[in-house]
């Protein structure tokens, strides 16, 4: 036969040998979450209750050191590029504990945690995602209130102490400023206009926003509003808030019926022609986190949990255009959401969640 293929294989083999061989280990599970109360106006940086962050954090760190814990496993949905500087801050403060960050989508993190724990493999220490509250019904979350929780907005933490908000996703309308004039859209009702035919899109799983809208306006009014927008302008479905922002900025859509404020803000800061519009009360959905009840590194897990809502970590999140869950850390810019009324609905669990999701799917069919 021809020798070409054989020599190709040889070449490949040689190349493979040239690339240094290597493999590695690691791995663990994750979760998801959301929350509620009446609309509250956001306070400007308030004085924190008395708390010496450094002292409390030192206590937790010492406990982890005494227990000879040298690693901590964080499962989360925050992208690696965003998590990296945060882990660097951690490593400076707690040099003897190596943080292993496992990034995956909300759904695969949850499936992974459930699979691991079900097989008796306890690998995750802290899980952060919008559905982290679902660890509670699975019996996987530790009831624990870290010292820094005292500075977290009361709307943003579980009353029972199983989870805490890591950051707040504010649900707003996003517009392409080359296609929508300033002041042209002041309410959701303004979207029910044939002018926007084919120009409106929404993420296909914005259930929490819809649930919030229902809790603010009531089922009938909320459904009526969405139906009128769908009937007059049509709403296209997109998978993922990031993609939605990308497509909108590219001119594919003029309006995102719903978008996380930080997504719009990030694109805007890169110079993209976009803006967000808050419709009060703004439905807030939380990126939450929980500590594992069977954490492999129980002390380091608490330290990480506390660290993620520390002033340093939260300041970092605000620098990325996210909205802090602490009342004493200013947003960036400080007046980003000042004075806006918000509502943080209690996180949905089944069977309500499935019902809401099915209604959402039917409305945008």
């Amino acid at each position: 036969m021809e020798t070409k293929p054989r020599s190709l294989i040889r070449g490949l083999a040689i190349l493979a040998a040239v690339i240094i061989a290597g493999a590695a280990c690691g791995g663990s599970p994750g979760g998801t979450a959301t929350q509620t109360s009446g609309p509250t106006a956001t306070a400007v940086a308030t004085k924190p209750a008395t708390l010496d962050e450094a002292v409390e954090s030192k206590k937790l760190y010492d406990a982890a050191v005494v227990a000879k814990e040298t690693e901590v496993n964080w499962y989360g949905t925050v992208n690696e590029e965003e998590a990296k500087p945060l882990l660097d801050i951690w490593s400076k403060q707690f040099p003897t504990i190596k943080p292993n960050y496992i990034r995956a989508s909300e759904t695969s993190l949850m499936s992974r945690v459930l699979t691991e724990e079900q097989a008796g493999k306890h690998n995750f220490d802290v899980l952060s995602s919008t559905s982290a509250h679902l660890l509670t019904p699975a019996g996987l979350a530790l009831q624990y209130t870290p010292p820094n929780a005292i500075a977290v907005d009361p709307d943003y933490k579980d009353k029972a102490g199983y989870w805490i908000g890591l950051y707040a996703n504010w649900n707003t309308i996003q517009i392409n400023t080359e296609k929508v004039k300033k002041g042209e859209i002041k309410s959701y009702e303004d979207l029910a206009n044939p002018k926007w035919k084919g120009q409106i899109a929404i993420d296909s799983t914005d259930y929490d926003w819809y649930a919030g809208l229902v809790s603010v306006r009531g089922q009938q009014a909320a459904d009526g509003l969405i139906k009128s927008i769908v009937a007059t302008a049509g709403v296209k479905l997109v998978d993922g808030h990031g993609n939605l922002s990308d497509a909108l900025v590219a001119g594919q859509y003029a309006i995102a019926l719903n978008q996380f404020l930080n997504q719009a803000e990030r694109a805007k800061r890169q110079g993209a022609p976009t803006e967000w519009i808050a419709i009060e009360p703004v439905v807030v959905q939380l990126g939450k986190m929980a500590v594992s009840k069977s954490a492999p590194h129980p002390n380091a897990a608490k330290l990480l949990f506390n660290f993620l809502i520390s002033t340093d970590a939260q300041k970092y999140f605000t620098s990325r255009g996210r909205i802090t869950s602490r009342i004493d850390v200013p947003n960036d810019p400080p007046n980003l959401v000042t004075g806006l009324k918000k509502i943080a609905p209690a996180p949905l669990v089944d069977p309500e969640l499935t019902k809401i999701a099915a209604q959402f799917k039917a409305l945008f069919k």
């Binding site: 690691g26 992208n79 590029e81 699979t115 690998n123 296209k236 594919q252 999701a357």
Partner: protein, 581 residues
């Protein structure tokens, strides 16, 4: 009397006995490996289709038919199934036409630049599906597509003429992206073609086309059926193209509809996807049955016999330049154009349309970001080594398994063939969970290592190896092995000295196909990845998902450059380094 006959009967009797015992051992060993790899995920698929999570303070399950109800009673399913079949069939037809035509040009004619075509086709396959979909969206979106805006200057339309968010658009993207699989399979078949057959047809007065149809394509039937099967099932399970292009156009296919249904639940019910996996499983087993019936008269496809032959090429005369021009145009449209769009995207912090004005603001910042990304080198190393290991393991296992299913008379051979092809229907996330569960339960320390992904990929891509190895074996006339055995060679010796060299073109095609498939694979890698086992495909997908499409584009370009550099250096190295043997 009996003694007198004995000397004549002995050689045959010995061969028969030897074969039998060797068959038994090899069958047992390879069936064990394949069974081990495949049966677990299938069992898991079955079990999960009947159960749902029950979280009441602990992780429990209830056994129920709800997953089946959600799938089969869903009123959207008939439309979605129809769309899926149209999409998969349409894409398969495109891929078969393009892939076969190109393979014929490269292997059977003297068209100029044909050496480059293989590389270009392989490069196309290496572009991740997500990136191809993003690129075609930017090129052919009905309103903002660059191609459309260009054409709108020439023809009097305000929208279109192309609409990528349509079934036709999706078929185009799928077919022009997956034709390289067909190309690789068909090229291996055409390379082993005995030109005497074509010459005989020509002597009998058959024209080029009728010779092609009655001889070249007829003899390559195993390869065509293989290609058809693989691409069709890939179409049915295709997810990223339908999600990115179909969802905004409200064109639901089975995968996206079932994904949407599973997403209604928290935690997402894998069991709903499992029901689709089972449907695909039935389709793939049916496919194996079709393959086996279509190739039942095995000797009809044996082009490599004891008779010597020298591969020669058809002289196309002057037409060869026209053929070359057509090929180059094809690559321009299916590869260069999408890549130009990807490069354009990668030059800005956010998605911008083509314009001279924007060009002044272009920068390589996204490349700096991607290359400065801490673990990117690790990710490249992991992806490349894993893909090479996966491809090598599969090529070896399936060359043995295929011998059993094609040559032996072993009673379980049909089952082995079906088992080795079944994974093509298993959805990636199901594979991820089942592999995770196995290595969390068994005392084999693979959990948390890169090797757990290797195991998942070896299982997922077994079907490619199995089909390509069967095709290759069907091309070899058994008389060669018989001659070898008659001369006293052991089975292993025959395998090494006769079979391996002859199936090599098939093995190379399998290696490249599997290498690329593993390099791109996402859903199980996404599930099994850990900080120490980052993969390029996962990094790229996460980057894109996080709303950083332009950085994902930059990473895609870097990835292509790396893979092409490797492929070219492998070719060059092979020229200079000669290994004895």
């Amino acid at each position: 009397m009996a003694e007198a006959l004995a000397p004549r009967a002995t050689p045959f009797a010995r061969i028969a006995r030897l074969r039998l015992s060797f068959d038994a051992i090899v069958l047992a060993a390879s069936a064990a490996v394949i069974g081990y790899l495949v049966v677990t995920p299938i069992a898991f698929l079955l079990i999960s289709s009947f159960r749902r999570y029950q979280l009441d303070g602990s992780i429990g399950f209830v056994f129920t038919l709800d997953n089946y109800a959600d799938t089969f009673l869903n009123p959207e399913i008939p439309t979605a199934a129809f769309n899926s079949i149209v999409y998969a069939l349409g894409g398969t037809v495109l891929a078969i036409v393009f892939g076969t035509a190109l393979a014929w040009v490269v292997e059977r004619t003297n068209t100029p630049f044909r050496g480059a075509y293989m590389l270009l086709a392989a490069a196309t396959y290496f572009v991740p599906g997500v990136l191809m979909a993003i690129s075609w969206n930017a090129l052919a979106h009905v309103r903002i597509g660059s191609l459309n805006r260009l054409l709108q200057n020439v023809i009097p339309v305000t929208e279109g003429p192309f609409d990528v968010n349509s079934l036709l658009g999706m078929i185009w993207v799928f077919g022009t992206h997956l034709y390289p699989i067909v190309f690789l399979i068909m090229a291996a078949a055409f390379r082993a073609m005995d030109p005497a057959l074509e010459e005989a047809a020509a002597l009998c007065g058959a024209g080029l086309w009728s010779g092609l149809r009655t001889i070249t394509l007829a003899v390559s039937r195993p390869a065509i059926v293989s290609a058809l099967l693989i691409v069709f099932v890939r179409g049915l399970e295709s997810f990223d193209v339908p999600l990115i292009l179909g969802l905004p156009g409200k064109i639901n296919v089975l995968t996206t509809e079932i994904f949407a249904t599973a997403q209604l639940h928290h935690p997402p019910e894998l069991g709903i996807s499992a029901t689709l996996g089972l449907v695909l499983l039935v389709v793939s087993i049916g496919g194996v049955w079709i393959y086996r019936s279509a190739t039942a008269r095995a000797l009809a496809f044996a082009t490599i016999s004891g008779k010597g032959y020298r591969p020669n090429r058809l002289d196309l005369g002057r037409q060869r330049y026209a053929v070359a021009a057509a090929c180059l145009l094809f690559f321009f449209v299916t590869l260069v154009l999408p890549l130009i769009q990807v490069v354009w995207l990668s030059l800005f912090p956010f998605v911008r349309q083509f314009s001279l004005d924007a060009l002044s603001r272009a920068s390589f910042a996204q490349y700096a970001y991607v290359l400065g990304y801490g673990a990117i080198l690790d990710a490249f190393r992991n992806s490349l080594l894993n893909a090479a290991a996966v491809a090598a393991i599969i090529v070896v296992i399936t060359s043995i398994a295929a011998w059993i299913t094609v040559r032996s008379r072993a009673p379980a051979r049909w089952l082995l063939d079906a088992l080795a092809f079944a994974p093509i229907g298993i959805p990636g996330p199901i594979m991820g969970v089942s592999v995770l569960l196995v290595y969390l339960t068994l005392p084999i320390p693979l959990y948390g290592t890169i090797f757990i992904i290797t195991v998942a990929h070896v299982t997922l891509f077994l079907p490619y190896g199995m089909r390509l190895a069967s095709d290759a074996l069907l091309r070899i006339h058994p008389q060669l092995e018989e001659a070898s055995a008659l001369s006293g060679a052991s089975w292993l010796h025959t395998y090494r000295a006769i079979l391996l060299p002859l199936i090599l073109p098939g093995s190379v095609a399998a290696f490249i196909t599997i290498f690329a498939a593993s390099f791109r694979e996402l859903s199980s890698a996404l599930f099994l990845a850990s900080p120490q086992s980052r993969f390029v495909s996962v990094v790229m997908y996460s980057t894109w998902q996080d709303g950083n499409a332009t950085a994902a584009a930059a990473l895609g370009i870097v990835m292509l450059v790396v893979v092409l550099t490797l492929a070219l250096s492998a070719r060059l190295l092979a020229r200079f380094v000669r290994v004895p043997g």
